[in-house]
């Protein structure tokens, strides 16, 4: 990663804010968050529920408008993109995977549709045959058999398989940055490591930057290069994984680590 460190960051936020409501009743879900991620880097954002992680993910995905601060993609301000074509161009580079893989599917359609719709974003006018090839390649890459997946309904697959279809969906688009909002928290413990390894493989194969949002320090440690700790909407600590784990500075991080006693020996 050091090779890239001198470059313009892949994504950068400056004092990013989001408040819900107005005046005294406003809830500051995300408060002056500044960080950056380099190409091919995996950054974990750790925090308890209600700390603003998901709001931050939605801001970064431009699904939600910010109420302050800037978002820069490769140095280019994307905070105020409104036009459909600009947003599409942004989503070609930044994609997401969500927490509940079943809720992410429209259950009235088979798996094929969500993948084909993702291809529409590319807007490249490829012949139909190549569409299929691209989708099948993405599915194979996440370890699924296309013939056994495409025409099934989401509820016919397991949680881990469905989440991998969602990752394949992102892969079809081929973004530079993947924002994974708690992609493992609804999965069985045995399936989590499969998804984590898949994220690691994506970085290796495609040099994809990944923002991995989780409440689980163990997973953050396993997968990421750098950790950002979020508490009540603010980033309270950030740094390389080993450093944060060995010498947590902020009191909240210390408490978080104390809650996972077996990690302290590791």
């Amino acid at each position: 990663m050091s090779a890239h460190s001198s470059q313009v960051p892949l994504l950068e936020t400056r004092d990013l804010q989001r408040a819900f409501g107005h005046g005294d009743h406003a809830v500051r879900a995300v408060e002056r968050v500044s960080f950056s991620i380099q190409p091919g880097e995996i950054v974990a954002i750790v925090g308890e529920s209600g700390s603003g992680k998901t709001t931050l993910a939605r801001l970064l995905l431009r699904l939600l408008d910010s109420t302050g601060g800037r978002i820069l993609l490769r140095g280019e301000d994307v905070t105020d993109l409104r036009r459909s074509n600009d947003l599409k161009a942004y989503w070609r580079k930044v994609q997401g995977v969500f927490q509940d893989p079943f809720a992410a599917f429209n259950q009235f359609y088979t798996n094929r549709r969500v993948l084909e719709n993702a291809l529409k974003l590319l807007n490249h006018g490829l012949p139909r045959q190549e569409h299929t090839q691209r989708i099948e390649a993405a599915l194979r890459e996440v370890g699924l058999d296309p013939a056994d997946t495409l025409d099934k309904w989401p509820h016919q697959l397991s949680g881990g398989q469905v989440q991998r279809v969602m990752i394949a969906r992102a892969l079809v688009i081929g973004p530079e940055l993947l924002i994974a909002d708690e992609p493992t928290s609804m999965l069985d413990a045995s399936l989590r490591v499969t998804v984590l390894n898949l994220l690691l493989a994506l970085r290796k194969q495609h040099n994809m930057g990944i923002i991995f949002i989780t409440h689980d320090l163990g997973q953050a440690y396993y997968v990421s290069d750098r950790i950002l700790v979020m508490y009540q909407g603010e980033l309270v600590e950030q740094g390389p994984v080993e450093k944060v784990f060995a010498m947590p500075k902020h009191e909240y991080t210390q408490r978080l680590l104390a809650d996972v006693p077996r990690l302290r020996g590791a």
Binding site: L87, Q95, F98, Q107
Partner: protein, 301 residues
Amino acid sequence: MTVATSEHASFDSGSVFLTGLRKFFGIFGMINRRLLFSGCMLVLVVGFGVLGPIILGRDNPMKTVGGLYDPPSATLWLGSDNFGRDVFTQLMHGTRTSLIIGVIAGLEAILIGLLIGTMAGYLGGIVEEVLMAFTNVVITIPSIVILILLSIAISTRSIFAMGLIIGLTSWPWTARAVRAQTSSLRTREHVDIARLSGAGTLSLIIWEILPYMLSYVVMAFVLQLNTGILQEAALSMLGLGPSNTISLGQMLHWALLWESVRTGAWWGFVPPALFLTLIAFSLLLLQASVDEILNPRLRKR
């Protein structure tokens, strides 16, 4: 894992329609008596209105076949009205007219309600406030007043025009319910995923949000159909019904106008009143039983 998956599906309120359909056919074996009863009744009423005149060969309800209020007999099954026209024939044609007006009004109310409700719920912000303010204004104006004024304003009222006028006033409740459902559905992850795939607003509403409301839309249509038929009867009874044709409300209008109640000619007003009650009753029963099937909470009791 299959157990977990199916449980997930049944607790997800959005899947109510699919699981509902599955349950629908499952329950059919045990027989939901209310559904069966109301369904049969509706089929009979619709068959009576649509097929009756064709099967019995009575295509003109305005033909004079007897005297002033002839009592029921072997040829005039329900007697004759003030102009000596066959009440039974009128009843068949009137039922058909009332149903057609109800369907037009119901469809129109559902379409306007869906349009305004989904736009308000999905777009939010100022659009939502303006649309909902408008909706609330329409709710507070007594619809019968608008209906009377509109009916007077149009000199010749066709069946289609009647349907349109009635539908114009009955959409607000649908719009409000649809808005509430839309604003809850738009925050679902599958809508976010579709947005991330670049889907436009219209396609999001049609393909990602509407399917999840289908069961509600069907039920709302049944209610709107009912409202439409009753509103038509109210207007027609006041003499503002469709011109040059006959409806159940219009039969009541004539019965009132030509003193069938006072002269004891019960066949003039009992059949149309009974049919209106029957249609309204079976539609409400159908709505309630479909609701019971689609809504697990009601079923448990």
